[in-house]
Symmetry: C2
Subunit: 616 residues, 2 copies
């Protein structure tokens, strides 16, 4: 197509896109038309200007370029783009935001061209980083990842984590498209239309920057994308000045129109301003080269070898397990936030450096990147201190809506870490990961169960959290023992158990010590290792509740959302007598045993409570 004709075609596409953006939001009665209108040319130029390469009939093609709307509220534009590509009809667009429609308010996986669910701002770029890491270092394919960014969301620190790390990894296959429309939800952004303010900051972070002074001019936009192709060893940010509400006089650059739709009467006023609209125009998306990654055939995992009774920290077993299991699961990758010598991800990293990514102390970007890698078929294990996953809770929360195969390992759980004090203690991580709808939450007590649970996590498609402990704990299970998800182990029982003590991780050993002590006094207790905190093995626990005078949960975690509540919830509506021992005083610095005692989650607290129950 000659240049002039091509530009004419793009303009016709943009006009129809604006028509749909306005019409679909008016019919829905909600949505963000003005945020979509500002980026219409930026996206039309990308998709239909010969830049973006995508096999429309095979969204999973490994060499497709990828497009993520980090400004997820611009779904009217997002869906319209794919309609212009021929993948949605006008009638389908008009189901936008209806219950049951795949065209949800923000991008979700119900729409097949969504790479990852977005809508919480400042996350798309980190997901793109993961996809770009995959392209450059794992699959080694020449696809490019584009991320549409809003200017408001540049206030989010997560963006700057990604900007730092993308430059560190020289991701010249990652392109940000910054839609500087000046206006946020309630007024002007910090920098308004000062493109240079963005350029200065982003360039300082090691990115190539390309300014587009008129973000509605196709020649400028196409030239910018073409320049992108020439950049080596640096990620690229296109910084474009745009007008919010572009195309409709009474919307253009007006405050107060964010997230507002036109009434039918306003729509009638607006549409003629778009000029003649050709309902039949469609765009053509270039196809990618048909390249595929070299796949490594799975091999047998290494043998599990531990001496019974030896003391091995579960965090160390975690690192051992990743290394041992990698041959069987060659899509496994490990990401760690500059603490791999504490989480022991370094055991894997030392063995398979090309499959380990140092993410530095930037947990939000790490989780986003993990999600990005997962979208490309990898099985990322993301690790840091349990406490510091709280830094990325929004990213973890959002991940679930992308339905990823993504694993988390949090080390240094609970007060039993000792002297470092409360800032380093994971005491709300179980609450956090249990709150993810379809998550699995695992909490092994010894090295053997850790290894088996890492294996189970690898075999389970979904989000799994593994909680590990700092202290070395004795190996109590034989290497033949199996640990299905949703199971538990009854490790002590008799026909006349007074109460059932449910421990997990370090508290299992407190329960076992209490068992010994109570035995001396002729009192039997049942002891359960609740290694699967979610789902809970309700049947086994309920049977124990019925066979004994009460359940005692003992956890190195705050009470809310922890093991006690997990057990109660799993057994409901069955009425059971449950006593919860948990961390209920503000933790201090001290030796692990001192702190377990202080918090009344040690063997002596268990013994006291059992005797109290005995006395009735």
């Amino acid at each position: 197509m000659p240049e002039a004709q091509k530009l004419e075609h793009l303009k016709k596409l943009a006009a129809l896109m604006r028509y749909y953006i306005l019409a679909m939001t008016t019919q829905a009665g909600s949505g963000h038309p003005t945020s979509s209108l500002s980026a219409t040319e930026l996206m039309a130029g990308l998709m239909f200007g010969g830049i973006f390469r995508f096999d429309l009939d095979n969204p999973e093609h490994p060499n497709n370029d990828r497009l993520i709307f980090s400004k997820g509220h611009a779904t009217p534009l997002f869906y319209t783009l794919w309609a212009m590509a021929g993948k949605l009809t006008a009638a389908e667009l008009m189901t936008y935001r209806h219950f049951g429609s795949p065209l949800e308010g923000h991008p979700t996986m119900s729409f097949p061209y969504t790479e990852a669910a977005t809508g919480s701002l400042g996350q798309g770029l980190s997901i793109g980083l993961g996809i770009a890491l995959n392209g450059k270092y794992l699959d080694k394919l020449p696809y490019t990842t584009y991320v549409l960014l809003g200017d408001s969301e540049m206030a989010e620190g997560s963006q700057w984590e990604t900007l730092q790390l993308a430059a560190h990894y020289k991701l010249d296959n990652l392109v940000g498209v910054l839609d500087v429309n000046r206006l946020g939800q309630r007024g002007e952004t910090q920098y308004g239309w000062d493109l240079l303010a963005y350029e200065e900051r982003i360039a300082a972070f090691g990115w190539e920057t390309i300014i587009v002074n008129d973000g509605h001019s196709f020649p400028e936009i196409i030239a910018a994308y073409q320049k992108v192709m020439t950049v080596a060893d640096k990620p690229i940010m296109i910084i474009a000045k745009t007008v919010k509400g572009k195309g409709v006089s009474f919307l253009e650059d007006q405050n107060g129109w964010h997230g507002k739709t036109l009434s039918p009467a306003e729509l009638e006023r607006a549409l003629p301003e778009l000029g003649p609209v050709d309902q039949s125009v469609r765009g053509v998306v270039s196809r990618p080269e048909d390249l595929k990654p070299v796949e490594v055939a799975p091999q047998a995992a290494g043998k599990l070898v531990y001496q019974p009774g030896a003391a091995v920290a579960t965090r160390k077993a975690y690192g051992n397990a990743l290394k041992r299991l990698y041959p069987q699961f060659p899509h496994l990758v490990s990401l760690d936030a500059e603490v791999s010598n504490s989480t022991y991800a370094e055991i894997f990293g030392d063995a398979y450096p090309q499959k380990f990514f140092e993410m530095y102390i930037a947990e939000q970007n790490m989780v986003g990147a993990g999600l990005g890698l997962a979208t490309r078929g990898k099985i990322p294990f993301v690790s840091t201190f349990a406490a510091f996953f709280s830094r990325a809770f929004d990213q973890i929360r959002m991940s679930q809506y992308s339905e990823p195969n993504l694993k988390f390992c949090g080390s240094h759980a609970g007060v039993s870490i000792g002297e470092d004090g409360p800032s380093q203690m994971g005491l709300e991580d179980l609450a956090m990961f249990r709150a993810i709808l379809d998550s699995v939450v695992l909490y092994p007590a010894d090295a053997v169960s850790t290894e088996r649970l890492v294996e189970a996590a690898l075999k389970h498609r979904g989000m799994v959290y593994i909680r590990t402990s700092r202290l070395a704990t004795p190996i109590i299970y034989s290497i033949e023992e199996e640990f299905p998800l949703g199971g538990c182990k009854v490790v002590r029982q008799s026909d006349n158990d007074l109460a059932t003590v449910i421990g997990a991780g370090v508290t299992l050993f407190e329960a076992l010590a209490a068992y010994e002590e109570l035995q001396q006094e002729g009192i039997n207790i049942r002891v359960i290792d609740l290694y699967s905190v979610k789902p809970v093995d309700a049947a086994t626990v309920l049977a124990a509740a019925k066979a004994t005078q009460g359940l005692i949960t003992v956890e190195d975690h705050y009470p809310a959302g922890g093991i006690g509540e997990a057990v109660m919830a799993a057994l409901a509506p069955n009425p059971v007598r449950l006593y919860s021992l948990a961390v209920t005083k503000k933790p201090k610095t001290g030796k692990p045993a001192e702190l377990l005692d202080y918090e009344d989650i040690s063997r002596s607290a268990i013994v006291r409570l059992v005797k109290q129950i005995k006395q009735g």
Copy 2:
């Protein structure tokens, strides 16, 4: 003191400080000596070089300069500083990290010179921003806030949120001291000793930067601090090249020594390297001007006026309440993350613009700043969408260890927000805020209870979360009604209630609708408004459980950590029959009523369950 003598004195102080740093960590057997040694001169120069102004006998003096160790692991240095100021004895230093000692592993409030608990990296600067906002815009006092930063923690996005906003607010009373010792926990940082990499980035963010090429040279350090005083309208970052482990040959710039202490034998080798150590040397801290803020006398709050039965969203009542109550609580300030027209914090902001801070879309910094303001006696109300507090969970978690008087309001709770879809729905916020040890969690259903609960939050010293809803709900309470924390309202009851339905927020109205429907069929239910989710009014709920065949909790929240579990936990160990209705399917886009139905938390789900219970 003549200059040369002053330098000699500082050097003697530094030598003794190194002695203590090494000795106290060796006796403790844990801690971070090398991270302390790198910043010894930077901190000694600040405190004892005539820069820092602090009334040692009155840490609460409103015009004291403030010092925050964002690299909280450098406590050996932190405590040693105050020992050099005469506020700790050598013997007290030797209790470092012992159980019960105020000298905890990371700074906590058990030590009286801690401004705010730190230890999760990348938070101190945001706390400092809050303190600086207070100095410049509220108390209008000339104190300066200094924050010691590690180089590793500059990878955290939260830092860049603060850097952006501090420049926006022209905080020339905020000074960062960046200790570039090159080494993180497991190896080199992203930029190593490249001071210019930091300078370029930080200057691009609008800060004045001052390079210190030798961070162990007192003349250079003092000159840098003196230059700080001359900067106007910009925050200042001192970027200093230092050596990790400085002063001990076998520690200096060596990887593998992070968070490691010397054995007694190693200590014996190290100490002579410090040269002669004068145990008697002490530093002098300058005193601040004795200035105090102008205090505004509290006046009567405005009158509470709502029409019974009128529909008002609780989020709107929140804004009304802040505005109405401000005269009575003149320390009230409001911070919002660029969504004040949704949370309705704008009602307050429009009325009292000087007490409202726009924090843009940067929730981590917003919470840190709120904490900083709270340390200076303000009562910050921090607001955004409930979902987006997950972005700042680490800051919220850490806040509790500073024991602040800090309030949070999360709007747009649950699936009942409707079409925007799951990314915007707060569905884990109750779990998150319940997990904070001493938090109060409130969830009003109507405008009157919202106003009363904001008032109760203002009167309660501590961390309070208020959950508000997007939709307008009818006013059901008279303006005389009282809503004590830890209470609940039995809004429907009879002598023959089949079951008790516990609702809160929007689900209370579903319960009331179910009540009407069941009444038509001759079935009575008890209905409780659990406006206080934490603490739960256990006595009232237990009585209802005993009086009826079962409790039904209905919540617009995921099950884990939510209202169902809160009620179970509050009643334990009493066995009760509890049925939990909560959001258990991945939410979609749709109308609020459609989504409540889809998730089985609507009136019809309640009616079905009650009938099921009736059938037994």
